[in-house]
Amino acid sequence: MIEHMIWMIPVLPLTGAIINLLIGKRLPRRVVDSIAVGSISLSFVLAVTAYFHLISLPADQRQFTDTVYTWIGLGSFQVNLAFLIDPLSAVMILIVSGVGSVIHLYSVGYMHGDKRYSRYFAFLNLFAFAMLLLVLSSSILLMFVGWEGVGLCSYLLIGFWFEKIENARAGMKAFVVNRIGDFGFIAGFLLLFTTLGVKTGIWSLDFSVLKSNIALVPVAVLTATGIMLFVGATGKSAQIPLYVWLPDAMAGPTPVSALIHAATMVTAGVYMIARMNFLYVLAPDALRVIAIVGALTAFFAATIGLVQNDIKKVLAYSTVSQLGYMFIGVGVGAFSAGIFHLMTHAFFKALLFLGSGSVIHAMSGEQDIRKMGGLAKKLPVTTATFIIATLAITGVPGFAGFFSKDDILYNAYVSPYGGTFIWLLGVLGAVLTAFYMTRLVLLTFYGKPRMDHHTAEHIHESPKTMTVPLLILAVLSAAGGYIGMPEVFGVHNVFAQFLAPVFNSGFAVPEGSHTLEWTLMGVSVLAAFSGIGGAYYFYAVNTELPARMAQSFRTAYAWLLNKYYVDEFYLKYIVGGVLKLNTILSLFDARIIDGAVNGAAKLGKKLSDFDGAFDRIVVDGAVNAVGDGVVSAGGVLRKIQTGLVQNYLIFAILGLALLLSFVLL
């Protein structure tokens, strides 16, 4: 039954989007948000049903496909519009539709007064549709449709308040940077497709077919494909060097940031790598690249996060950093650890963003944490949930982030593709994460209020539609990690076991000793607490210290504050280079191409001048001569036509006489 209803999971939000796009403007607001929230919630219900159906099957048969129809059929090459449910996509649709529903609900309160209310919800639904399509598709081509779909929706939603030019620019930046990555993605899967097709005659883009034939492809091609696909992932999932769009994506409404950072979009890259695990386990070099890029991103994004003053910017860099951890996970071959962190991150990052939305809402739109402070008393629910999320992201034992981050760091240490360097970057990143998150909490919710009097008067806790989602996510952030408790605690890692069938083509990460695992866990915990303690000392005990530090390390501070000048670098050398190339090309265009075209035009004009003259003198002359001759002859002959009937009769009789004279004489 549910096997044939899988298609409804993505189609429901699509329907909601279409209804709201077409007639949303004429519907009452209550109906608009009911359609949007209702459709995504129904998807979530179906996803849960599909999940329970899946776990009712034996572990090695947990996979089924819902084929809707044949999209492309060229001889033996077929692409079906088919949806695949296996443990991996089941986890993903639960996250996407679950967290997505919560964010939809929250938006009802947050977007309360917006003038493009129905359009907002239509785009939000469309976003959920694209992401669900991406995770459910059974072939790379269909996945790519969803992949582009989320890119489009991010553009639409980041630039949602397009009246301000920066917002529109941020939307365009996200789109363009993503397109650069997408190019890698296309090149990657086409390379795999053609190599496999030419070598073996198996033309297919289907995951299952690719999986069973992947060993026939040479390792060099697999490595190249893996790296190209990863380029696509760096675009979607905001890794070095294509992470620059994500911090700017803050221009959109805050629930959109939550959706992009938690449930959809940025997780697409991690999911794609995990989905293609059968390829990556055969291309260890590609895996190493992923792990190193992930580790560097995790560390450098965290350093930038230390000094940002915009509440959403801090969270944005923390997302980039956390995505780095996920790539460390999948990059060292611990795919389930990566997906586990993806899930826990979805919970606490959605919570952080929605919480920051609640803060911004209360602060009448203010986002600068230097102008906040002391909000804890006025926003009790927001503060409590925000702190839970912070504990989760910093990796305090018992909270969701602790288990997933620890899982990744442990695997990074013991995996043959990881190593001490990657582990060390991860741990340092964890210290920094704990530091900037604690700083954010202290500056926002504690200390002396620093806002102006007018804003202070308006601070109020958000309405129920906003606080209920916060509470739901807080519970998940606190408890969501227990399904992936490592075996060292004497339990089974339920999450990893559930995902194991999808990743069974891979290799087992070698077992470290329990002593090692406890040690590494201890280091992680120490990292978290040292970060928290450091931030507490800086921002609660010795509050003049940060300013003094910024003074004495002015250069370093400026580099961090300006995000290592990466945007400026891209603007000057890459965008500037392209512009210079454009100038040269435009000169070439003006001189040579236009010259050739103009020359041809001039030649054509000369030719037609000659033709025109010939036409005028010779052809027209002949025609006119004939006409003139006829006219003058007519002038003579017309005199015979007197119009007098008796004249005609005279001619007739004379003619008769003439004839008779011939006959008779």
Partner: protein
């Protein structure tokens, strides 16, 4: 003693009659008079028909043909007079020298 009337006499008569008709047709200004001339020419032809029938054919074929000709001439005159009336109604004259609207 007068010699009996011969074929030539008939032919001379019809020749004279035809000529008078042609003269009338070509010279008269009045359209009715022109029609009269046409009638003379027709009847000259009828005389020929009867004369040849009497002297050469010796049957009644030519005479019957003349009767036909007279009936048809009557119809022709009816049509011609109708045309003259129509012309008079539009131009208020039947003077043929004034009817030159077909002048080239």
């Amino acid at each position: 003693m007068l010699s009996p009337i011969s074929l030539q006499d008939y032919l001379i008569l019809s020749g004279l009659l035809f000529s008078i008709g042609v003269f009338g047709v070509l010279t008269r200004k009045n359209a009715i008079a022109v029609l009269m001339g046409v009638e003379l020419m027709l009847n000259a032809a009828n005389i020929n028909l009867v004369a040849f029938s009497k002297f050469i054919d010796r049957g009644i074929q030519g005479q019957i043909f003349a009767l036909f000709s007279i009936v048809i001439a009557a119809a022709e005159v009816a049509v011609a007079l109708a045309i003259v009336i129509a012309v008079y109604k539009t131009t208020r004259t039947i003077d043929l020298d004034k009817e030159d609207s077909m002048k080239g």
